[in-house]
């Protein structure tokens, strides 16, 4: 849990100083003051639409005529080591969705996402992301933190560590989770790891009190709250007056002031009702099944407007994890998110925020070209198992060339073969758009230089950039 830190002892910009000579005990940035990026940024803020579960590439963005032709043929034995549930493995399976080319660019999108299909000229699609583990937890850790296990700072934490925040009274890194439940790995998805806790994502709930402990658990008259506040500040003043030069005490007093401001600002940012009916409709607010995700998309825009640097949106559990019932369940996942996301893009454009905001869509891996069968082996209820070798993700907004389709998978959609994009590449590309160089964004941890991308070499996916 981290809101703007006010450790006035911290030195600004250290993370970005000349990297070569940093001593082992170099102080690190521990505040949320805005910091200079490494190069001119394209994006001021990021909205990360995290699609937990592993959306099926060959049912959404990567049509595979080969699967039509070879539907029903056995393929399992050739990929046996890449299947999580071998006993449920079926034959090659064609998509039940219909693909069509859309927009000026002619990007292929299936009929599961009719609203995004109208916005394809605004997005750059990557069909060739691959990862290194086919189990949710490790794969989610990897895409969020660069390592297949707990304990490291998440992408959002690195971003606010590198850049600070433009907001004085909201956290720099806000997480909008689904009231229906946490994603896989829970709160570890926004932890700061070995970075100072201030860089952790702060969970804003879209219903009730937005932040833990934001409102008192015990209701008291306002006059009492005021009287206690003034008592505490007088006690603190007495304490501080006897301890000159202890700047941490000034900072502590400031942190109470910030807490009070946050109480106001957080509630204001979440006040979706103050938006016009037209805007709300754009996001699908007030109608099902889009209301919940639509609210989060709209709140994301309101947060970005208020200077928040990194906003991450989640959906409960793993709605994209369609092991069975792909046709109905994946469609349901699309129905919940497709319209709100298209609405978000449109709204950002009409408000002039599109060119300074990076939107990132994607999950932790893709899915297999073969079927996964339910226990009763009913093929009509088949789904697809996890696939670490290929996944589709897309980018939109600041610095992104709309309409581009980058990379390709093999004829089955099993393996990314052209323009392969690793998870570190994906990280490096996002950092690059924010003006950060993945290799220079590091923190000294016990004498070692730790980065988001670890020791991996990474490549910015320049093909999708303007």
């Amino acid at each position: 849990m981290g809101a703007a830190l006010v450790d006035l002892l911290a030195r600004d910009g250290v993370a970005l100083a000349d990297q070569a000579e940093a001593p082992a005990d170099a102080p690190i940035a521990t505040d949320m003051l805005p910091r200079r990026p490494h190069h001119a940024p394209k994006a001021k803020a990021v909205i990360h639409l995290f699609m937990n579960g592993g959306p099926s590439q060959m049912d959404l963005f990567d049509p595979k005529p080969f699967l039509e032709k070879h539907h029903g043929e056995n393929y399992f034995d050739r990929i046996a080591g890449e299947v999580e549930n071998p006993q449920a493995a079926g034959a090659l399976m064609r998509s039940s969705f219909k693909f069509r080319q859309h927009g000026q660019c002619g990007m292929w999108v299936s009929d599961a996402m009719p609203h995004l299909a109208r916005r394809v000229d605004d997005i750059a699609l990557v069909r060739s992301l691959y990862t290194t583990n086919l189990t949710h937890e490790p794969a989610v850790y990897l895409i969020q933190t660069g390592k297949m296990g707990p304990g490291r700072p998440t992408l959002g934490s690195w971003v606010v560590y590198g850049l600070g925040s433009e907001s004085n009274n909201l956290p720099g890194y806000v997480v909008l989770d689904d009231p229906l439940g946490l994603p896989v790995n829970g709160v570890e998805n926004w932890q700061a790891g070995f970075l100072p806790p201030v860089f952790q994502g702060t969970r804003f709930r879209s219903t009730g009190s937005p932040v833990l402990n934001l409102t008192p658990d015990v209701a008291r008259p306002e006059s009492i709250i005021q009287a206690e506040r003034s008592l505490r500040s007088r006690l603190d003043e007495l304490h501080r007056s006897k301890r000159p030069h202890q700047r941490i005490l000034d900072a502590r007093i400031a942190s109470y002031e910030l807490a009070a401001r946050m109480q106001m600002a957080a509630s204001d940012a979440l006040d979706v009702a103050s938006e016009t009916a037209e805007t709300q409709a754009l996001y699908g607010i007030g109608t099902q099944p889009t209301d919940s995700y639509g609210r989060r998309c709209l709140i994301a825009r309101r947060l970005i407007e208020r200077g928040v640097r990194f906003v991450q949106l989640y959906i409960n559990s793993q709605i994209w994890d369609n092991h069975t019932g792909l046709f109905t369940d994946m469609k349901a996942a699309c129905d919940r998110t497709d319209l709100p996301i298209a609405g978000l893009i449109q709204d950002l454009k009409q408000r002039g925020l599109f060119d300074e905001t990076l939107i990132v869509w994607g999950g932790e891996f893709g899915r297999l070209p073969i079927a996964q069968l339910p226990p009763d082996k009913d093929e009509r209820k088949a789904g697809r198992d996890h696939n670490k070798n290929a996944a589709c993700v897309w980018f939109s907004g600041a610095g992104i060339q709309g309409g581009v389709t980058h990379g390709a998978t093999d004829e089955l959609g099993f393996n990314a073969v052209d323009g392969r994009v690793s998870v570190p590449d994906w990280h490096a590309t996002i950092l690059h758009l924010l003006g950060l160089n993945y290799d220079q964004l590091y923190v000294m941890e016990n004498g070692l230089r730790e980065r988001l991308t670890g020791v991996a070499e990474a490549r910015v996916v320049s093909e999708i950039l303007k």
Partner: protein, 947 residues
Amino acid sequence: MHLALLKLAVLPDRTFRTVNPPMFPRSPHSCPDRIARHVLLLVMWTWCGASIADEAVKVPENIAAILQTHCSECHRDKNRKGGLQLDQLPGILAGGESGPVIDLKQLKESHLLQKIESGEMPPEDQPRLSTDDVTAIRNWILDEAFWSEASQASKETNSDHEVYPILLRRCIVCHGRHRQEGKLDLRTHASAMKGGQSGAVVVPGEPEKSLLIQKVRSGAMPPHDRLVEVSIKPIEPREIEVLAEWIKRGAADFVAPMPGPTDGPDTLVTATDREFWSFKNPVRPSIPDVRALDATPTEASNPIDAFLLQKLHERGLEYSPAADKATLIRRATYDLTGLPPDPNDVVAFLEDKSPQAWAKVIDRLLASPQYGEHQARRWLDLAGYADSEGKREQDLPRPHAWRYRDYVIRSLNADKPFDRFLQEQLAGDELVDYENAAEITPEMSDCLVATGFLRMVPDATWANITGYVPDRIEVIADEIDVLGSAVMGLSLKCARCHSHKFDPIPQRDYYRMLAVFRPALDEYDWLKPDVRAGLGPVSVDTMPGRLLPFVPTAERQAWEEHEAAVNQRVADAKARNASAEDIRAIESQRKPEPLIQALWDRGEPTPVYVYRRGDPLNAGEVVSPGAPSVLSSTNGDLDIQPPRPGAKSTGRRLAFARWLTRPDHPLTSRVQMNYMWQQHFGQGIVKTLANFGKTGTPPSHPELLDWLACEFVRNNWSLKSMHRLMMTSRAYQQASALEEDRLAKDPDNQLISRMPMTRLSAEELYDAMLIVSGRLDPTPFGPADPVQARPDGLITPSATANGWRRMIYVQQARKKQVTHQENFDFPQMNPNCVERRDSLVAPQALHLMNNGMVFQLADATADRILSEAGPEPAKQIERLTWLTQGRAPSAEEQQLGIETLRQLKDEWIAGSTTPGTQPPSEADAVRKALSTYCHAVFNSAGFLYVD
């Protein structure tokens, strides 16, 4: 090494020795899971295979000269950085620790060429190669004719060495120690040749007639649809060819023997490497004569002061004035017990005018049971203690971990000598003969509980899909990381994939360490955290898990008697036809079997191969168990003996533990004293607490550190005596006030010209609120208190019948961290925490202002004060200040308190006159006012900070 390439020697007088590793110098980093993205598909050049050539092929003279000038300083016979030798052709062909440097199939992809062309080699601080030199090297490496001739001259003769790793990773799980499906056991050459139910599986010389090859070629083995069940991946075509080739050659023994000791200096660690300060044994320095240094003599009866004052005087500084006694006892009480001082103890100290008054306070605190409860937390941070496995959604509980927590508390309270403490944790199972004992004593049981130290890291290998060999290796790597950071002060993890870039830790030495732990942590013979029903898909794993039943015999008997009694009651109930409900009620009285989460030597370890680039699919040479060469000798210096005649146990860890606790060990005592120093003085003498290597910070007071290290050992590794020594120094008794002169001359207090002002840690704050409010349940030990989660995500410890216990007894579930802990910087254990970071964030303020439990404790504090101090506001304020800050209130505070209590009381009466509600009674308003006051104090800096 069985190479016979002598005739290939190019540069005169050099004989070819062995293979190994190229370096990839970059900036410092850690890389536990380096999987190179652009993995070169390099030709396998196995260490055991090349034939004698008839004619010597030579490196062209101009190239030899370049290599000689620019490379051979670090890559020659006697100094093989990265295990690579570039001063003669066999060495170049053999490659280094990460594999070949010349890619014979794709010369332009050769590592050597890439390193040179990218400018990565020679390293930055060495003279650069000229463009002409680079061009010459390039032409040479791309000279196909040359390499074809060179490789002809040294072509492989066999690759038996590769056979065993393949069997280990693809077959042994079902055809090995625990299961012999089809009656086949592939662990030894003899058993493999014997075959199984269907007869021989290997026909020497006839691969295609061998059942083994038929089965793997057809895909029947390993069986595709059961791969996940046994957590293995399919065998790769390349591996099948290796097996076939091996059979074709005659199917000789494939188990490579462990290398024996070698003579002569280590080619991977130089004499200069051994000269670095932290790798040399600490030598007790003489104590500086501070009087002689200074015109105005200073008392320095405690040697610590002599060392510190010497440096301070050099900068023209003296210590800060002594802190007042109330400040001192509050500081010391928090430091040693994690609790605020009892007002009575403060008064007794204030009144004690004897010269021993301070020492008496320290001794009393060291003797209190709360000492262990607080100091254990420090060690549990280092060990990475947690009550759940983490990594997966299920966050599988570790219901027996608490015994280790209790062991640490009891050991520290008993002031168990640290060397023994460490030996028990690293090798307790080898210290006692628990298997043959007629009675398990508490001491024996403790030795097993202690080994839980190496069972603390996050671990998802209980599930098949996250229990593959690489997942297991990750767990082992985390354990080694804990050992390296908590005990050895070394970033050992760097050497997992390549030799350490900054410290003289060759990759070989990392794997030597793994070999020490192999008999207990074997990725090919793995014990899962738990194998209960209902945990994911069926597992063929029938191994016994990590729990041992050897609790003290008395405890075991009590449990057995209890169970027998329950059984009897159930039988009786059934006999009288009791209802199912009644029987369930009796059944519910059962207690879980008392078990120990332990680590133990199971004998028969598999061989340990160096994994090139950390990749288990790329096994290099076999290593023997040993300590890092830079800290010992070339051979790793362990005296390994079975702990007792006839023992199954190998004695490897015991030998290592004894080596690590040698009195003159370069790191063990220094690292611990540095941790303790940091605890008392706010920063380490070496600031990078877990890195005493070259990328760590040099010690600010090297002589002091060495003196403390020697004194620690001289005091029989007594932690308490060292606490006493540090806390009775004048340095510790300084005030924490900041003055401009000191800030200018000693800005970060490296010289200890004052004491740091510190914020209470998460558990100190929590425990303090409990004890102040009188709601602390002091019951020690036993299973952890559960936590409860509110729908909005707030997580709070559950109360006991008598309040709440200290935070150390609260469950540490990795995925359900108590919100208070999260807000106040209690670490996530991934895998451990060497140093807490104090943050100052708004959620802390929000927590103390708004959290329900804080309100509840403020109410309890108000009740306590009303009963102890009576109705008079002045007395109430006085009592509250004593309880929360260990001192009397100032006149100003007194005044403020009296006025505010009156105002609050009035506001409570006035504020509650909303329609339909009764204003509170006078007595109720008084109580509410006092509670509000207590709540403000819980939020005040005076309560949260220690001077």
